[in-house]
């Protein structure tokens, strides 16, 4: 993070050019710089904090911090990753303030010693995106994510909500790639165990199978 971006990178990236002009005094352009990422930042914050008002505060604080620290962004990571890192730190700070860390570490220990058995289902195979039109289903998914222990929720947020790579996730969280994989696996299995039976039950009355066959994995 100590070298300036190469001249080529600056010329080839409208985003780096935008940052350069903001730093040169055209401050209003910061709106344009942030706009493409605000949804992603909110999704990160709300999945971590489980509360819309807190998530909104955290995103606003993170964005203002990004503005203040803009000169320290050197273009050696993606700007989106840099913004997510700031948002993640703000969200973690808020979680710590809420004094929930102690509870979480107990949850994790317990989970680590539990032999995992997935929910045994034999006939829930359709891709259920149409189900998300229903508020009830969105609420179930949100609730299941919100009930994960903090460190698992972070992994699911970064990997499965934001769809960041394993490498980016590892570097954002400061953990190894293998830890990302292990935590992600456990988190996904916890979600599967909780959600699969619930979703199957609410989905059953209006099965939609027309997506079947259009997607490569069926």
């Amino acid at each position: 993070m100590t070298n300036s971006p190469p001249v080529d990178a600056l010329e080839n990236s409208p985003e780096l050019a935008l940052i350069a002009s903001i730093l040169a005094g055209d401050r209003e352009k910061f709106h344009l710089l942030i706009r493409p990422y605000e949804t992603q930042l909110y999704r990160t914050a709300v999945a971590l904090l489980k509360n819309e008002a807190d998530a909104e505060d955290v995103v606003q604080d993170a964005v203002l911090k990004a503005y203040r620290k803009l000169a320290s962004f050197r273009g050696d990571s993606k700007f989106s990753t840099w913004l997510i890192a700031i948002t993640l730190n703000e969200a973690r700070g808020r979680l710590r303030r809420d004094n929930r860390a102690a509870v979480d570490s107990i949850d994790e220990l317990r989970e680590g010693n539990t032999d995992y058995t997935p929910a045994p289902l034999t006939d829930w195979r359709e891709v259920p995106l149409a189900m998300l039109e229903r508020q009830e289903i969105r609420a179930l998914v949100q609730k299941a994510v919100s009930e994960l222990p903090d460190s698992y929720r972070e992994i699911v947020t970064l990997r499965d909500v934001e769809e960041l790579s394993v490498n980016d996730t590892a570097s954002l969280l400061g953990i190894s790639i293998s830890s990302v994989k292990v935590r992600l696996h456990r988190a996904r299995m916890m979600l599967q165990k909780k959600l699969a039976p619930q979703l199957k039950m609410v989905a059953a009355p209006q099965r939609k199978r027309r997506l079947l066959g259009r997607l490569p994995w069926f």
Binding site: L64, W124, L184
Partner: protein, 84 residues
Amino acid sequence: MVLNCRHVWEHISEYIDGTLDPQVRADVERHLAHCEICSAIIDATRNIIILTADDRVFELPIDFSKRLHARIDEFLQHEHPEPG
């Protein structure tokens, strides 16, 4: 290597991400070819991952963007980025 169901469950996440070692992947696939239960568990897990990634699950509150940019505006009036 012949895997039982419990072995297969350990590999579900990496199987879905396509990051399993080719030999393990082949072993998992051999198991899936005859195990309906594990196939259904993998499909359900994959479906849940797809649902979690969908934009509609964590939607922006109404006027979120408006409030964010109003706060930025206010901030820009009196703050400058710190020197690098």
